[in-house]
Amino acid sequence: MSDDTVNITVDGRTLPAKKGQMLIEVTDAAGINVPRFCYHKKLSVAANCRMCLVEVEKAPKPLPACATPVMPDMIVHTQSSLAREAQQGTMEFLLINHPLDCPICDQGGICELQDVAMGYGQSASQYTEGKRVVFDKYIGPLIATEMTRCIHCTRCVRFGEEIAGIRELGATGRGENVRIGTYIAKSVVSEVSGNVIDICPVGALTARPSRYSARAWELRQQPSIAPHDSIGSNVSVFIDGSTVNQVVPRDNESVNEVWISDRDRFSYQGLRHAERMTTPLVREGEALVPTDWSSALARAAAVLTPTPGSEADLGTLVAPHSTLEELYLAQKLTRGLGSPHIDHRLSQVDFSQAKADPVMPWLGMNLPDLETLNAALLVGSNIRKDQPIAALRLRKSALAGAEISLINPKRVPLNFEAAEQITVRYDRLVEQMHALAVAAGCDLSALEGAPGDAQVSTQHQRIVESLKSGERSAVMLGNLAAAHPARATLLYLARQIARATNATVSLLPERGNTAGAWLAGAVPHRGPGGVAADREGSNAAQLLAGGARRYLLVNAETDYDAASPAAAAQALHDADGVVALASYLSPTLASTADVILPIAEFTETFGTYVNAAGQWQTTKGAVAPPGEARPGWKVFRVLAEALGLEGFGFDSPEAITQEVQRACTSVELNNLLDADDKLEYPGSLAAPMVRSGETPIYRTDPLVRRSQPLQKSTDGKQAFMSMNASVLASIGASEGDAVTIDQGGARAVLPAKLDEAIPDGTVWVPMGLYETRTLGTVFGEVTVSQGGELPGEPAITAVPGIAGGQVKEAV
């Protein structure tokens, strides 16, 4: 027995415990039930509910197990009459003000208070006085409040302060007047706010979208994997009959601990959106009309079957949130048809130095390792919004003293203190990274034309110093870096800085299955497993600029996913044929597709997702897709059959996964590959005004885009042209005014928004929005002028054959 282990006796059992551990941790590990409300294993100890009182011999009175450190030879009784009386007394007091509205409470059936009251409560109350009533304040579209039910455990308050890093809820007032809330009516803005629903032990905080829609005991539960970011959070899907009623986290310490982002929690609300397609559609004349699968497949085969010599005019674009199986089959089918043109990097613009692309973009470590970094530099990353769960972990490093610095084209919101935040116009990111590389004494021989007099500031020196001195440090590239016009240069400089400072290069894959797309071979220069392709095809930018005559789109919504949606729409309009596998109808798809095959979404299909740490996670479908929609892998199988292609006769989806696994057996993850070609140093632009932007948190994939609760939340409202006060003044506009942005003829009108996080000479105009689908690439020179007509609410693209947007129930 090591020195820090002690033995204690609980209910007659001898249990080993670590010194300093709280009693409740030891009883929990031993499976001894001690009732509790305020204690939560991931939160600090508050010891305010008093429910976990137990008898400890030689102590004069019952002690709270959550706040009592173990002592050698401690003798504890959790079921003695002293303990039971104390617990029953606490329960009686907790129930004094708790309303007995269980029959109309969403928590009923999954309520910790109900459960504990069953075990420790009395059958009748002695209390006859008036009960406390709390009037609710609206705190946003995601969380419903019924604060009369609150028992003041403060788990939600501690979650905000300790885990999310944004203190939004608090305990105001005192004594009987204490209430938990935001004090003022305001929407909570944390991107992980929904977790308070799970940790609330009563029905005070419940999920607003699913409120009053089902009783807990009517729901079935299925495990699944959330596909909205490169964490691959483990979730449980609650199903009411044939519809998804709720999505909640499933514990997995190596992935998401016990938390999920609001995006993963509420995306399912988009499953029954009016744009959801439930029958195959084919174009007859101008219009898309519903049809049956066999005629749709025949039409699709007719478009996709090459005539001799035209094999290579097919281009396949597959969205990076698709399942590994869909990604793999898309490339297999495309290559099987004789075309090398397949890509998933729809929002990327810089494809240079392809040899330096790793087999898959990789975090360079496991997810829990993010908690123990000593220093990190984030380049082009809005990590809190793009990979919320990674940000929670990185925050733990920051709280432990890690120096985390950022270089970004906008000052991004953080839930930790940054050591240095360098915010420059996007075209000067390279200059900043170059200065860092010079400060770190990097070998920059592959970079040509770099200025000899790099402006190294004390900020740069401090960042380099922190990376060098940190035992575990990382240079991390995020979504903004991946979409940047000098992506390859940023990656090169990041690699060289990491080498010079002995740091890890860490790439945050942009979407739910970006890593899987690389492994599946959904890139034009590499096949499955990252082996070089026999024939290198065109990349997504080339294809979306009209580099093909016939297109196969898989889950791809070019209006929202393409780097340049205006050019992509033109390319599809000019094409000879467009076949789409999609779940939702979007404007350009509705006007250009010849055949649309409706496929299953998140929770509806088997699928494998590869996360940032390279973990493969497979999930089964939890519910049937609506109407005639079918899982993507099945559609590929029948489509391949219609095309007469060999090698698609999979009996089960697992057989597809195994085929990809076999292709990946020799994959070695490595972010430190080098290209042979030189890089030209991209100088900054002379243009007085540029556009910068990102895909906002709730515009990342088709399902999220259609989740109304997410769209109505603070982060969902992004249709603005944001700029700082001096830029706003320079165009003579005030906040809220209509402003027109012109990108070489491509235009959009948006309301101006004042945002001091945006650097000078920049208007921040996101991509992925309905309002910005008429524009070009997200980074570039633009002209802006006051005036223009603001667009109305985004229109719903009507799905032919479905009256009033009603979706037929699944068969």
């Binding site: 944004i166 939004e168 608090g170 919101p413 953080l414 839930n415």
Partner: protein, 173 residues
């Protein structure tokens, strides 16, 4: 860490708090370590309340939050916890009549009754002209030797009679 969330826009303290208040708050801030500015929150709220005829608006509390680099909800918690802070508009003269045991034995009930009749309001209410606020006083004000007693703004008045109360309160502006 309890710093201001970046998602929250707080007012510029200099636009909400007057120069005198800021000077006083900054003086209080010098008494605590640089990284524990929030220690000055009670003093800062008192100063802010004093500037605003005896009550704290959300804007004032937000300005204090910005000044002390605290999350606004943490400031609301403090302001709503302590009975000496008012978070709703009240009359500009704060009259707190002690009704705790010693004063009660010495006849504070009649003082309360007299004041309520005099101003036509109940404890916890303000006169419609915004002049007088009769505070609900929860705790003993530690002047038991001179009960019944009351606190008018910052001054103690002991050994009260209805006549003495009239004299004191009529002298207010």
């Amino acid at each position: 860490m309890s710093s201001v969330p970046r998602d929250v826009t707080l007012p510029d303290p200099a636009e909400v708090l007057n120069a005198h208040s800021i000077e006083e708050i900054e003086e209080w801030m010098t008494r605590y370590p640089e990284d524990q500015k929030q220690s000055a929150v009670l003093a800062a709220l008192s100063i802010a309340q004093h500037q605003n005829q005896g009550w704290l608006s959300t804007e004032l509390m937000d300005a204090v939050a910005a000044k002390l680099e605290m999350a606004p909800i943490a400031v609301y918690e403090v302001a709503s916890f302590y009975s000496m802070f008012e978070t709703e508009p009240v009359g500009r003269h704060n009259i707190a009549i002690c009704t705790n045991i010693s004063c009660m034995l010495m006849g504070s009930d009649s003082i309360v009754e007299h004041c309520e009749k005099k101003f036509g309001i109940k404890l916890g209410e303000s006169t419609p002209d915004g002049r007088i606020y009769l505070k609900v006083e929860e705790e003993c004000l530690a002047a038991c030797a001179g009960g019944p007693m009351m606190q008018v703004n910052h001054a103690y008045h002991t050994n009260l009679t209805p006549e003495r109360v009239d004299e004191i309160l009529d002298a207010l502006d």
